[in-house]
Amino acid sequence: MFTIIKKTDIDFIGKRKQFFMISLIFVAIGLIALVQISRGSGNLGIDFSGGAALQLKFDQPIEINAARKALESGGLKNATLQEISSDNKLIIRLKKREISGENIRGKVKDIFSTAFSGNNFIVESSTEIGPTIGKKLQGDAINAIIFSLVLIITYIAFRFEFRFGIAAAIATFHDVFVVLGFFFLMDKEISLLLVTALLTVAGYSLNDTVVVFDRIRENLKSRKKETFGEVINRSINDNLSRTVITSMTTFLAVVALFLFGGEVIHDFALAVLLGVVVGTYSSWFIASSLLVTWQQKRIEIKTKKRVLKKAS
């Protein structure tokens, strides 16, 4: 047998307070990102904010500053430009207020064919989205998240226990917020595709958490003599090699997507890669540790009640 991870006995829950602190900081960043995004600041993709995006492919390399100048003198100020220099591609993004009611595709074509007359290009793709659609897409995304969350908590509460459902939900939120916070900090575009990626992360993270929980459920039945914390530690250790191997295979699959999938899918893959790492971390240090904290609190409350009863 070829093994990466031998039988282990790592104390995962011992340092949970420290891990909670670290996670809290990351989640806080994610929350700030969410607030900023819902206020409309942050690098919102045009599918949410409304606006236009065009992708041009030139025959020869194009100087990004010259492109910006050409657009400005053509009346398109505040365009966000992104260059994919390996393919001579240029992505132009315009927010909605810059383009009210214009034929933006024709305008950009005119600007570039006059300013760079020696450098032929084709418009590979163009997207124009009105603000009302953006609102609808935003609403749809939020509905999807709330709906799936409620269903998942219900399912886990039904298959396991209520607190497992809550712990899994918190861990999932944790992962989504960490990835979102990262994208916000890196000033990457918050688009519909990123939302898809975040939902994938949520799905993956849950998947991982449930596998660990399943082992906890099994061990709680067979190891009645051990404390709750010991059982949880044992369960994570039992599952360690599976978790690592699954994370690794998924990671490998997505790395290929990240490296070779092309510009459209690039950020999507990045978010999922990050999510795989964070999701693995959270099943160990957040979801399982939360169960221990919950158990302790429950015992504390019970004893308090008992003390109170005795006193009265």
Partner: protein, 544 residues
Amino acid sequence: MKKSIKGRLLTLIALLVIAIFFLLPSTSIYSKLPAWWGDVFPSKGVSLGLDLKGGMHLVLEVEVEKAVDNAIERMASTLKGALERKEVEGLSIKVTDRLIYLSFPSDKTEVVKETLDEEFPNLVTEEESGGEKVLAFREAEKNRILTTSTLQALETIRNRVDEFGVAEPLIQKQGDKQILVQLPGIDDPERAMELIGKTALLEFKLLNENSPLLRDFPGRIEEGKEQEFLDLFKDRLDENDEILFERMTNTETGEVTKSPHIVTKTAALAGDLLSDARVSIGEFNAPYVSITFDNEGATLFEQITQKNVQRRLAIVLDGNIYSSPRIQEKISGGRAQISGTFTHQEASDLAIILRAGALPAPVKVLQNVTVGPSLGSDSIRKGWISGFISMLLVIAFMVIYYRFSGLLAVTAMAINIILLVGALATLNATLTLPGIAGIILSIGMAVDANVLILERIREELRAGRPVRMAIDAGYEKAFTSIFDSNVTTLITAIALITFGTGPIRGFAVTLGLGIAINLFTALVATKVVYDYLNGRKRLETLSI
């Protein structure tokens, strides 16, 4: 036991064969198969989304409120025509806020009432006094226009697209007043947009050449200065008149100017009375559009031209004057022509639009996504490459780590992919780029179920159990994990399919299917192989 192994193996093979049959049309092998194949076996494969094959995706909103405004305007001018035919002189008709203000000589009250009752059942009198009436649409008529104008716009757009000639267009209503238009493989999106988005309201309006304002009119103004010009004159303009512009292109310099004209607000004749529109070539090889009216239109046109000989009649499309020829004599036969500075293609597109008819109201573009074919094929290629590399990496890892059992797991993964793509083909699903991402992700996750099982079997082996028992126990114990974890992911996928739109949905469909098939292969396909091996000879060792 042996019998059930045979049964399961046969089911698995049968499923695979079915999947492959459904898959075939999506591959390049299909074109090499004999012709009868398509008649007997499935001929429709996975269709590619617009992001992969290129094309145009439009979401339009019909401004239905404007349809009511337009309808009342038209109703007013029809009413005017009807009353004039009954020789009611000294009429004045005005439309404001969806109300028709009608004034007429009071001795004609009976005639007006009769005409309204007989010919205009959709109008209701709101107020009246001697020689004056205020009319409005009945509530039912207004609602009918509101609800039918989207459908009417849909029909018109469908006609235009059909005439334009696009393979497999998708045109459907979405919600109350939105229309989704998908045109695969369009190579001139700007032209397509012109064809679809134009309201194409054709009207004939008489020029008012006696207005005192004309003395102050310049011959032409710069393009883009129209609003400024209108503001300058709006206070002095007669309330029955309006200013419209004719676009003039200097054929030598290409410079565009606008020439202002004063026309009557009410159209003398509208384009809904057309029966045909064709491109013709006139002098100097200049294309124009010749139109033919239907019977009613032809009669009206004859009357108008007869009554207004020597006046100029403007041909107005969507509020822009195309030409304003002087009427030389009565025109019978119901033919007219629209000339202007067209290219041949513009003229033929205009003919298409006129034949298909006007939209009941203007449409607003909510979403316009256009992907060129080169980007599409680029995405497909990159999708395949990264999918292939993903698979190689995973296969290498699994075989090195788990040896023979890893190979089994990888085989299961391959079966998985075949079944998944087969299922997509069976459902006639549309594959998009996020869909490919979903497939690749499920490659990663397909392995998970097998890893869970193999790790459990290893545990049992370490605990000293014989191979056969270890396999059974491994499967049994891994089952709940696999089941619960897949069901939760499946729930997410279903939520996304239900509420998601566009790319999210495409992704969720492949992920959801991938997971469902995952469950099947992990719990049935590999197990049957172990059982089979075990049945042939007692397994003493297991390469794991």
